[in-house]
């Protein structure tokens, strides 16, 4: 029973984790992209369509990443080059993604999809309990963990990561020191788009291998909340994503064991948890102060 619950938690948490780690990098560079939901759903529909047409899950995943990046390239052009309002542009991106994915996906509704195969890691997958839970997953679960470690290493151990954080902290100074604020932010935005697309692919190729309109169902928004929840620290995103994954599947399992709790209350749990955690985090002002990118959401126009 516990093993089964854990398995569903992992499936629920993975798309949140992938999308949130991408957005974390974007926000660390000082850009707020509220279009995660839109990029995710485009990734989901394009990934499903390509996998369905070609019969290759790998091509589907690659196409989903490309779709997410294309969306974020549009966003980057608008907010970084044309200096539009980031909040409004991000919201527009979500609305565009949800609408456009419905159009593309029209032809794929009700068609059974392709499921990414589980990869069994030799030896490790035979360990009782831990084996099935951690080492018999599909490739994207492993990738999600690799991404977190890579991002943490990149941000805090490499020079480019330091430059990216400096751009998010004080874009004026970074510019004065000769770093290309726009180029660095563009790269971060594209990475965020790629992650959102990948998270979308997980939804339509692993979580529920089919296309249903609006199938991301607000997960992009939860990913955004997770970035704040983690106070912009990559390893905390893991905790957050798994906590939210657990709370969201609790509903299903509670119904299965016929717990006498109203299901509305259970389905509101993830959101209540978000509010609670945000309050707890803002109590530690010093930590928040040091980790919050000070230029988050502020437009940058070099004076030249």
């Amino acid at each position: 029973m516990f093993e089964a619950v854990l398995l569903t938690v992992i499936t629920a948490a993975t798309p949140l984790l992938i999308a949130a780690i991408g957005e974390l990098v974007v926000e660390r560079s000082g850009v707020l992209n509220l279009g995660v939901e839109g990029m995710m759903i485009m990734g989901a529909v394009v990934g499903f369509a390509v996998a369905n047409q070609t019969g290759s899950g790998t091509l589907g995943v690659i196409a989903a990443i490309a779709a997410g990046m294309a969306m974020s390239a549009l966003f980057g052009f608008l907010v970084l080059v044309l200096v539009t309002n980031q909040v409004a542009t991000g919201l527009a991106l979500t609305i565009l993604g949800v609408g456009f994915s419905g159009l593309i996906g029209e032809a794929f509704i009700g068609i059974p999809g392709l499921r990414l195969p589980d990869l069994y890691i030799p030896v490790l997958s035979e360990i009782p309990f831990f084996g099935p839970v951690f080492f018999q997953q599909d490739a994207l679960v492993y990738i999600s963990f690799a991404l977190v470690i890579a991002v943490a290493y990149f941000l805090f151990r490499t020079r480019l990561g330091l430059v990216l954080r400096s751009v998010g902290d004080n874009h004026g100074s970074a510019h004065a020191l000769g770093y290309s604020v726009i180029r660095i932010r563009y790269a971060a935005v594209l990475f965020g788009g790629a992650c959102a697309g990948l998270a979308g692919a997980y939804m339509s190729l692993a979580y529920t291998p089919q296309w249903v309109e609006n199938m991301t169902a607000g997960r992009g928004w939860i990913a955004l909340a997770l970035v704040v929840f983690s106070s912009w620290l990559p390893l905390r995103v893991v905790i957050g994503a798994y906590l939210f994954g657990a709370v969201s599947v609790l509903n299903l399992h509670a119904q299965a064991v016929e717990l006498d709790i109203p299901s509305q209350l259970l389905s509101s749990l993830p959101y209540l948890a978000t509010i609670l955690v945000l309050v707890l985090i803002s109590a530690n002002r010093r930590l928040t102060l040091v980790n919050t990118p000070a230029c988050l959401g502020k437009p940058f126009v070099p004076d030249r």
Binding site: R165, S166, A174, H175, A176, L177, G178, R286, N291
Partner: protein, 531 residues
């Protein structure tokens, strides 16, 4: 724009002749005819400047004279519209700051360019082309900073550090780039006299080693003391070059302004000391955030007719003291007494109604809302001081507009069009406005924090004289300042704040710079603990 002001005799042509006389084989940087235009404004108009090796070269001028624009072109963060820059005899295009650093040009910024969320070593690594391993860089920082007498701990987070240390980071960062030319923009404005002396030693040592320094400062005393040559800009043009050691601060100031600067006279008129207006009694407050300073048993009597100044290095509790007096930080009722009424727990509006007025340090953002018009900013502090700005919850834009016109006229606030947004004013003009807004009421008690921070000589003289005039008319004035020249110029009594302790206020005649410096460096604290 300087209308009605008699132009000095020198012209750009003469200055150019001086330039040619100065350039030679020791010339490091030779700027010829540099021009930069922002819209309709010529920020730099055919500026010629020669900097030689081993020279501390002062760049003087009022705010808006074009100093920052000029050095930004040397540092590659602005592109010239005309003219050329020769570096060691070769024509160069300095396209960006990295190119400037590669040439050997380093810059210490006026508004710190540090990243608050990052550590000292990370901040420095960002400015170096090849920082190497962080641990090795940390060691280098420790060695170099100790060597120059500016010790730093590489692991500290900048947000935790006081302003003086932040400037050290900027300087050490610049030194690690091993520059041949260091540009310094107002470096001493945040230092104690002793710290400034240390900086001058560092600069003299660098000059001896053959490094050139381009030194921007409003403090003409120190320019005279350490600089070998001075170039004076006015309205974007070079109006004069001179040897500052042969000039007086007053003559330098008049070259900058283009007219004699009225000297401020505190001592000319002896104060008539009246009743106590403001009393602080054992004012104590815990530090509200990890970055704040606690106040410890601060006591002070401020009487009608006098100007009392509080000296101290930035970050020693000035902001907290100001907040406690103004009411932004509530304390126990009897710790702050206004005209005999305990009010430590009252809000700022209540205190304003008691005829007190407050001018905070940060003019843009705290003293004025950047995106609001000046008349709207007037309503924000004057709404309940009996000026008919608000009646039955409605704002009288007509009355606010009239008041804006009045303040603009009396305090010489210059603006490009009528009633602009606060953010469009230059620093000096906005400061004249925020001080003028409170002076306009003739308050009984005026508390002002850093009245002339980053303000040019002409505006500073105007503000200081206005503060003295207010006191002489029977009000009590408390000035919190980090500028000792200013303090000795205007104060009747001087107290010093150090780590949240305040020394006893003593008559200016009994104080000198050395004694103030010792109190700043912890003497005030010792005195406070004994008391």
């Amino acid at each position: 724009m300087g209308d009605g002001v008699a132009e000095t005799v020198t012209t750009t042509g003469d200055a150019g002749a001086g330039r040619q006389g100065r350039s030679g084989k020791d010339t490091l940087l030779d700027a010829r005819g540099l021009t930069k235009r922002f819209g309709d404004i010529l920020a730099n108009d055919r500026v010629d400047l020669v900097i030689n090796r081993g020279e501390i070269h002062a760049l003087l001028g009022e705010n808006g004279a074009g100093k920052s624009t000029l050095v930004k072109m040397f540092y590659g963060s602005l592109e010239p519209d005309g003219g050329e820059i020769l570096w060691q005899g070769n024509r160069v295009d300095i396209g960006n700051p990295a190119a400037a650093r590669d040439l050997g040009i380093g810059m210490v910024f006026q508004h710190f360019s540090l990243f608050e969320a990052l550590s000292v070593v990370e901040n420095i690594a960002l400015a170096l082309p090849n920082p190497g391993r962080m641990s090795e860089l940390s060691n280098r920082i420790q060695t170099v900073s100790r060597d120059y007498g500016l010790p730093l701990n590489p692991e500290d987070i900048v947000a935790d550090l006081p302003v003086g240390i932040r400037q050290r980071i900027e300087i050490v960062r610049c030194l690690l780039q091993e520059p041949q030319l260091i540009i310094m923009d107002e470096p001493t404005s945040v230092l104690t006299p002793q710290e400034a002396d240390l900086l001058f030693l560092t600069l003299e040592r660098l000059a001896k080693e053959g490094c050139a320094v381009l030194y921007i400062s409003h403090r003409l005393e120190e320019v005279k003391r350490i600089c070998h040559h001075a170039t004076i800009l006015r309205h974007g043009q070079v109006v004069r070059e001179c040897d500052p050691t042969k000039e007086t601060p007053a003559s330098l100031a008049s070259m900058m302004v283009g007219a004699d600067v009225a000297s401020v006279s505190a001592s000319a008129q002896k104060p008539v000391i009246g009743e106590p207006r403001l009393a602080l009694k054992n004012l104590s407050a815990k530090a509200a955030t990890p970055f704040a300073t606690a106040l410890n048993n601060v006591s002070l009597d401020l009487r009608a007719g006098e100007v009392v100044a509080i000296a101290g290095v930035a970050g020693n509790g000035q902001g907290e003291l100001f907040d406690a007096i103004s009411g932004e930080m509530p304390v126990a009722a009897d710790m702050v007494v206004l005209d005999g009424k305990p009010c430590g727990n009252r809000n700022i509006t209540w205190r304003r109604r008691q005829n007190a007025a407050f001018v905070p340090e940060e003019r843009l953002g705290h003293g004025a809302v950047p995106g609001m018009k000046l008349s709207q900013n007037i309503v924000l502090t004057r709404h309940s001081t009996g000026d008919k700005l608000v009646s039955a919850a409605f704002v009288s834009t007509a009355n606010a507009g009239k008041m804006e016109q009045r303040i603009k006229k009396i305090y010489d606030v210059r603006m490009s069009h009528d009633d602009p947004e606060a953010r469009s004013l230059s620093g000096g003009n906005l400061q004249k406005f925020v001080v003028g807004r409170e002076l306009d009421r003739k308050p009984g008690v005026l508390i002002v924090n850093q009245p002339t921070w980053g303000v040019d000589a002409g505006a500073a003289a105007l503000i200081r004289q206005a503060l003295i005039d207010l006191a002489r008319s029977g009000s009590a004035v408390l000035v919190i300042s980090q500028d000792l020249d200013e303090i000795f110029e205007i104060a009747d009594r001087i107290a010093v704040i150090s780590r949240g302790y305040l020394s006893a206020a003593e008559p200016t005649d009994d104080m000198n710079r050395e004694r103030v410096g010792l109190l700043m460096a912890g003497g005030a604290e010792a005195q406070g603990e004994v008391a």
